[in-house]
C-alpha cells in the first residue's frame, strides 16, 4: 500500500493544495481510507494528521471504514424525492437490513445516498456500481439486488 500511496503523492507533485484529490485517489485504490494511508499522506505532505482527518471526515466522498464490493447509490435529489425516492431507499434498507451509510456484514453491499446524478428524467433512480436503474419501484428492488453476486 505504501508504494501506491507514494505513487499517488508523486502524481500530484506532493502538492498540499491537492489533498482532496490525493485522498480521492487513495480511496479509489483501496475503496476506503485506511489509517496507515492517512498517516503516510500526513507525514509526506507535512500536514498534521488532525487536518488530514478533518478533511477526510468533512467531505461526503470519503469513508474511513471498508466498503462493500458493490456500492449502491440511491439518488435523493429533489426530482427523485418528489417521485418517491424515499420509499425506494426504505425498501432497500429493509431488504438488506442496513441503514443508509452502512455496509452489510458480508461486505457485499454498501448503501449510500447521493444528491442528484443528473438523470432526473428517470427518477427515482438507483445506481449500483455506476450502472443506473431508472424509474424504480418498490417491487423492482428485490430483483435488482438479486442480480448481483
Amino acid at each position: 500500500m505504501k508504494k501506491k500511496v507514494e505513487a499517488i503523492l508523486n502524481k500530484y507533485q506532493q502538492d498540499k493544495g491537492m489533498l482532496v484529490s490525493i485522498l480521492q485517489d487513495v480511496q479509489a485504490e483501496n475503496n476506503y481510507l485506511p489509517k496507515g494511508a492517512l498517516k503516510h499522506v500526513s507525514e509526506s505532505l507535512g500536514i498534521p494528521l488532525t487536518r488530514v482527518y478533518s478533511v477526510a471526515t468533512f467531505f461526503k466522498a470519503f469513508s474511513l471504514k471498508p466498503r462493500g464490493r458493490h456500492i449502491i447509490n440511491v439518488c435523493l435529489g429533489t426530482a427523485c424525492h418528489v417521485r418517491g425516492a424515499p420509499r425506494i431507499l426504505e425498501a432497500i434498507e429493509r431488504e438488506l437490513g442496513i441503514k443508509s451509510g452502512e455496509t452489510t456484514k458480508d461486505l457485499k453491499y454498501t448503501l449510500e445516498t447521493v444528491n442528484c446524478v443528473g438523470a432526473c428524467a428517470l427518477g427515482p433512480i438507483v445506481i449500483i456500481d455506476g450502472e443506473p436503474s431508472g424509474e424504480m419501484k418498490v417491487e423492482k428492488v428485490k430483483p435488482l439486488l438479486g442480480s448481483h453476486e
Binding site: L19, I47, H81, C116, C120, G123, V138, E139
Partner: protein, 618 residues
Amino acid sequence: MSKLKSLDELEALRESIIKSRDPDKPCVVICGGTGCLALGATSIISTFQREIEEQGLDTKVDLKVTGCHGFCEKGPHVLIRPQGILYPRVKDKDVAEIISETAIKGNIIDRLLYIDPSTNQRIAYEQKVPFYERQKRIIFGSNGYIDPTVIEDYLALDGYAALSKTLFEMSSEEVIGEVKKSGLRGRGGGGFPTGIKWESCRRAHGDTKYIICNCDEGDPGAYMDRSLMEGNPHSALEGMVIGAYAIGAHEGYIYIRNEYPLAVRNVKIAIEQAERLGLLGKDILGSGFDLTIKINRGGGAFVCGESTALMASLEGKVGEPRAKYIHTVEKGLWNQPTNLNNVETWANVPLIINRGADWYAQIGSENSKGTKIFSLVGKINNTGLVEVPMGITLRKIVYDIGGGIPKGKKFKAVQTGGPSGGCIPESLLDLSVDFDELTKAGSMMGSGGMIVMDENTCMVDIAKYFVAFLEGESCGKCLPCREGLKQMREILTDITEGEGKEGDIELLERLSQTMVDASLCGLGMTAPNPVLSTTRYFRDEYKAHIRDKKCPAGVCKELVAYQIIEEKCPGCGLCVKACPQGAITFMGKKKPVVLDQEKCIKCGACYDICKLDAIKVA
C-alpha cells in the same frame, strides 16, 4: 497539429477544418449526455457503429456522439443531419433502418418520430418540436454540434474567435467594459454583475491573481453545468482565458464535482487539446499572454459552492466558509485576488465578445440579461434542460416547453433556486423569471433548478426535505445555521408525524429570521427560504398537518393509510405477492383483496404495482 502562433494561423486552421467538411454529408448525431446514457445510449452508439461498418458506409455516413441535447425525457436521442430529423427513444432494432432509409435516402420513418402529446401529431424535425421551438438556445444549442473530445468541432463553430479578438484587438479595460455593458450576471446563484466583479479583481492589489471556474454543482436537481462541461468544455475554457486576460490572471482552476466523471474526463481532454494548439498555456496564440488551468475535484460538499469554502477546499483544507469582510476578489485563494464564476457564466463570455454587448443586452429583462438554462424536472412531462430568455413566464416554461403535468394531475408549485430557494405557487405562474422577480416572490434564481410539484407533493415534506439536506451539508462553523437547521428539522419532523403543535409555524418563522440575520455565509442566510416560502404560500397545508393530523397530499407516512377501493379491485392478487408484510389477503377471484392496517408498514409496494388504481392513499 502544432502550436498556433498568431491570429492568422488560427483562422487558417479554422478555414481548413471547415473546407474539409461536407455540410451535405449525412451525419448521425447521438446524444451521449448522462440522461441518454442512463436510458441506454451506449448500446445505441455501438449498434450504429457496427451497422455503418457492416453496411460498408464508413465513408458515406458520419457518426457523432455529442453531449446533452436537453430533451432527457425522450432519450436516447438520435438526430440525422443535415435535415435535422429527430428520432426519440431509439431502440437497437431500429438502427439499421435509420441508417439505410433516413441517413442514406433521406426518407423519414414515420413510426419512429416524436409524437406531440397535446396534438397527437408526429413531428419530424427537431426544430419543430415544441420543447425546442420555444427555447432560445444560444449557449446550450452548440452541444448538439460538438463532439466534446474533438476541438475541431468547436473551432468549426467559430470557437476561440472571441479569444483571438480579445487578445489582439481589445485592451483588458475594453473587455471588462463590454462584459459590464452586456449586463451579464453570475449564473451560479448570487446574480452578481460579472463585469463589476472582474473590474474589482483587476484593480485589487496582489502578486498573483487567480481565476476559478466553479463546476461543483451541488444543487440536488440541477445539472446544467455538468451538461455544459461534458458537452462543450471549450466554451467555458475560452471564457476563462478571456476573463483571465481582462483581470490579469495567469493561473486558473476548475473545481469540479468528483461525481461527474465524464465532465472531468472531457475537460481534461479539452485542456490538453487547447494547450497543444497554443490556445492555453504559455504565450497564447503568440500574444505573450499566459494562462495555465488546473483541475481540482470536489469532495462532495454543498457548502463548497460558497466561494470562500470552495477556495479553502482548493487549498486542501476543510470546505468551511469565512466571514467576507474582505471580498475574495481582494483576498481569495492563497490570500490573493481571486475571481470565481460558474461554468454557465464563463460559457456566456465568448458569445458576448463575438456578438457584442448590445446584441446580448437586448435579450432578457431589464435587469437580467441574456438567457438562463434551467433543469426542468420533477412532475413534468418533458423533463430536461431548457434555455430560455430571462423574463419568460413560469407558465410558458412549465406548460409550453415542459408540456404540463403528467397523468392529468393538478399543478401545485414549482421550486426554484435549489435548497436555498423557495416554492412558488400556482397563483404566481405568470411571474416573469429573472433574478429580481424570483427574489421578490421569496425564492431565488440559484443555479437554475426548477422542480415541478403536483397535487401529490406535500409541501411540509418538501420543506423538511430541504432542511434535512442543508442540516447535513451545514459545515457547522456558525451556530445559527448549525443549530437553527437542526431545530427546524425536528419541528418539521414532528409536524409530518402528527406531533405538530399550535405555534409551530410561528416558531419556524422566528427561527428562520434569526438564521437570515445571523448566519455567517450564504448557505445559512438562505437556508430558511424553503420553510418561509411554504409557510407563506401553503400555510393551510401546515395547518392540516398540525390541527387535523392529515397530510392532504398523501405523503407523510404517519398521517396516511393505504386503502383498497373495492369497486375497482378485481382480486388479481398482484399486490398480495408484492406486499413484504403479508398484510394483504387474497379473497378469491373477482373478489376485492383485504388489507390489514395493523400489519401495513406503508411501503407503497401495492400502490406501485396496481395497474387499476384500486389502491388509494388517504
